[in-house]
């Protein structure tokens, strides 16, 4: 890394960090590791459930778990979804967002125990909620399945665990700000607001009739875009220039990307209700917002792919573990945005509606984009915080190839399989039994890719936990107080 950027650092490039463990980082270590370790445990749990759910979906009779109430598809699918989103996605981004903003704002986390407490509450509430789902107590609203008493605990835990990036932003010493900071502040602020309002109108004081479904669609799209999307974009804006040692191309467009993303994302929800018994104007708003979301997608594509395209950036990205994952995520975001804009139009939507297509789009956003970026970030941050190296290069390879293949295979199966399925559903002369038959080959692909993802996650967990254990001796290198 070059020295001349210390002073007069150009815009579009995060500040150079010290290669030793800085004071800000040593204060982060405790809460960061708590969030990170919990996130990986939940990821493993979710992947095991993902395999079970795939096996069951492939067989109407319930697969190997027929007649087993606890492991019935409706329980497993809900638990898997919640663990992946709230267990993995939230814990991991709590860790990463906190680390990012501390780095960018030279923030010293003095009251780290509050964050730790928040992490403990968050994970206990999550465990309780998932146990209740298996016990047959769920609400029927995707990603709000936990019985309503869990919601307030999660909200308080979020404030304790996930609000620090905003504090870090407020206390930053310099006036200059960087794109990653805006996105993380947006994620940390938008989620608790959305969650509380959704809890209120769906579970505590349910709105009347289909308004519940409208509120729910608004909630889900905010959660996916403004938590997963914004947090992962922040990470790409940080790691690309950081690791490549160059500025983001056309960085002056980044504020437009930020504001257009934040402003349009909140309106896209009703696109999930096309054809449903809700007012037509509402469905149209969702469609238009989905199409407008192409603006930030194009700008981020210029920013990211432009940065990668000069001076052999792609091959350097391929040869660097962090960038290999992060770049995978950046490409996935572009693909997601383009598909999202095309397939929110009524004609296409009438075909894909009620098929696995929407799950494919979600997998593209939450896995191929956000999760891959998180993996890349872990490869960068963990060695710094633990002061040791990744134990096994082989496991890194297994991790990349099985998650990349598993992600692509599952997304293709969900999207293409969904499209085919939709074509058949649209033809009333094709019976439901015939349709079920033709989805079996896609179900096999889904099962295989669920296994691939599980294998990749085990490799990642072994490597990460090995590294953390190795470094847990208190005299980790570079600590200086």
């Amino acid at each position: 890394m070059t020295q001349e950027n210390r002073s007069g650092r150009p815009q579009g490039r995060p500040p150079e960090g010290d290669s030793r463990l800085t004071r800000t980082e040593s204060q982060l270590r405790g809460p960061f590791l708590l969030f990170f370790i919990s996130s990986v445990i939940w990821l493993l749990a979710a992947s095991v459930l993902g395999v079970i759910a795939a096996l069951q979906q492939g067989s109407l009779a319930g697969g190997p778990f027929r007649d087993c109430e606890i492991l019935t598809y409706g329980h497993v699918a809900a638990a898997q979804h919640n663990l992946f989103v709230y267990g993995w996605g939230f814990n991991a981004f709590f860790a990463l967002n906190l680390w990012l903003l501390s780095q960018l704002g030279r923030f010293e986390l003095r009251n780290g125990w509050l964050a730790t407490l928040g992490g403990v509450f968050w994970n206990l509430a999550l465990t309780y909620g998932v146990v209740l789902i298996f016990a047959g107590n769920q609400t029927g609203f995707a990603l709000l399945e936990f019985p309503r008493e869990v919601g307030p605990v999660l909200a308080v835990a979020f404030l304790l665990a996930g609000f620090w990036p905003i504090v870090a932003f407020a206390r930053r010493p310099t006036g200059h700000t960087f794109a990653s900071q805006w996105f993380v502040v947006a994620a940390s602020f938008a989620f608790p607001l959305t969650y509380l309002l959704a809890q209120l109108l769906i579970l505590w004081q349910p709105a009347s009739g289909v308004v519940q479904a409208i509120a729910h669609s608004w909630f889900v799209s905010n959660l996916l875009h403004l938590w997963f999307g914004a947090s992962a974009l922040a990470a790409i804006y940080y790691f690309l220039p950081k690791v490549l040692g160059r500025t983001i191309s056309a960085y002056y467009l980044a504020p437009v990307a930020f504001w257009s993303f934040v402003l349009f994302a909140g309106w896209t929800g009703p696109a999930a209700l096309i054809g449903a018994p809700v007012p037509l104007w509402l469905q149209s708003v969702g469609v238009v917002a989905g199409a407008m979301l192409i603006i930030p997608v194009i700008i981020t594509a210029i920013n990211f792919h432009g940065t990668l395209s000069s001076e052999g950036g792609w091959s350097r990205a391929w040869n660097d573990t962090t960038l290999r994952f992060v770049t995978f995520g950046a490409v996935a975001f572009t693909v997601f945005g383009v598909l999202n804009a095309i397939f929110s139009f009524r004609g296409y939507n009438a075909v894909t509606r009620f098929t696995s297509f929407a799950a494919g789009q979600e997998q593209l956003l939450t896995y191929a984009f956000a999760t891959m970026v998180l993996f890349g970030a872990a490869y960068f941050v963990l060695p710094r915080l633990t002061g040791s190296l990744w134990p096994s290069a082989k496991l890194v390879h297994v991790h990349f190839w099985s998650t990349a293949l598993g992600a692509v295979a599952s997304i293709v199966a969900l999207l293409v399989g969904g499209w085919e399925n939709g074509k058949q559903l649209a033809d009333a002369s094709v019976s439901f039994q015939q349709i079920a038959k033709s989805t079996t080959s896609w179900n096999t692909v889904l099962t295989v890719s669920a296994v691939l993802l599980l294998v990749g996650h085990i490799a990642f967990a072994l490597n990460a936990f090995g590294m953390i254990l190795k470094s847990s001796a208190p005299a980790s290198a570079g600590r200086h107080d």
Binding site: D67, G74, T139, F189, V262
Partner: protein, 175 residues
């Protein structure tokens, strides 16, 4: 963007404005809907659900049936819902005003159930359907799983109560 307050204000508006325009305004538009007659003096629809069906809905929610079944009929021209016999007309908001929670669903791994009660009269058929070839036989007892448990009885009553085959002010059926 250097100022935290203006950043937070922008984000707040980006969350609150869609919430107000999409959610609160639909509550204003639809919140006062209730059961209504299609014509002056006609019967009120949707009708109140029997108590057993309400219990059955709780079973439906608890087992996550909504992860595979929708309960909504799209208008002609969007998909083949009506041609497939999922309903005689498109669903309208009023059909759902008595349902807690509303279970529109997002996936059709199985058929739509909005009018299951209207198309299925035979209780034995309903119980066979619930079993799904083995996935839900835990709801039954007996040597051949022929005895329905309380939950299965409630679930069947709920499924048979599902119907949107009446005229309502927004969706009149041709006589």
């Amino acid at each position: 963007m250097k100022n935290l307050n203006s950043l937070l204000a922008g984000i707040f508006l980006a969350v609150a404005f869609p919430f107000g325009a999409l959610v609160v305004s639909s509550q204003v538009q639809l919140g006062s809907l209730g059961p209504a007659p299609a014509e002056e003096g006609g019967p009120l629809f949707p009708s109140r659900e029997p108590g057993l069906a309400i219990q059955g809905r709780a079973v439906y929610v608890s087992l996550g049936c909504v992860s595979c079944h929708t309960q909504q009929v799209r208008p002609a021209g969007q998909g083949s819902d009506i041609a497939r016999g999922y309903g005689v007309r498109a669903s309208v908001a009023r059909d759902y005003v008595l349902q807690k929670p509303v279970l529109l669903g997002e996936r059709r791994i199985g058929p739509d159930l909005a009018n299951y009660g209207a198309r299925t009269k035979d209780l034995a058929v309903v119980h066979t359907a619930i079993k799904h070839g083995g996935q839900f036989t835990f709801l039954y007892t007996g040597a051949k799983q022929e005895v329905a448990s309380e939950r299965a009885v409630a679930l069947a009553a709920y499924l048979q109560s599902l119907r949107q085959d009446y005229s309502s002010p927004e969706a009149k059926l041709k006589k």
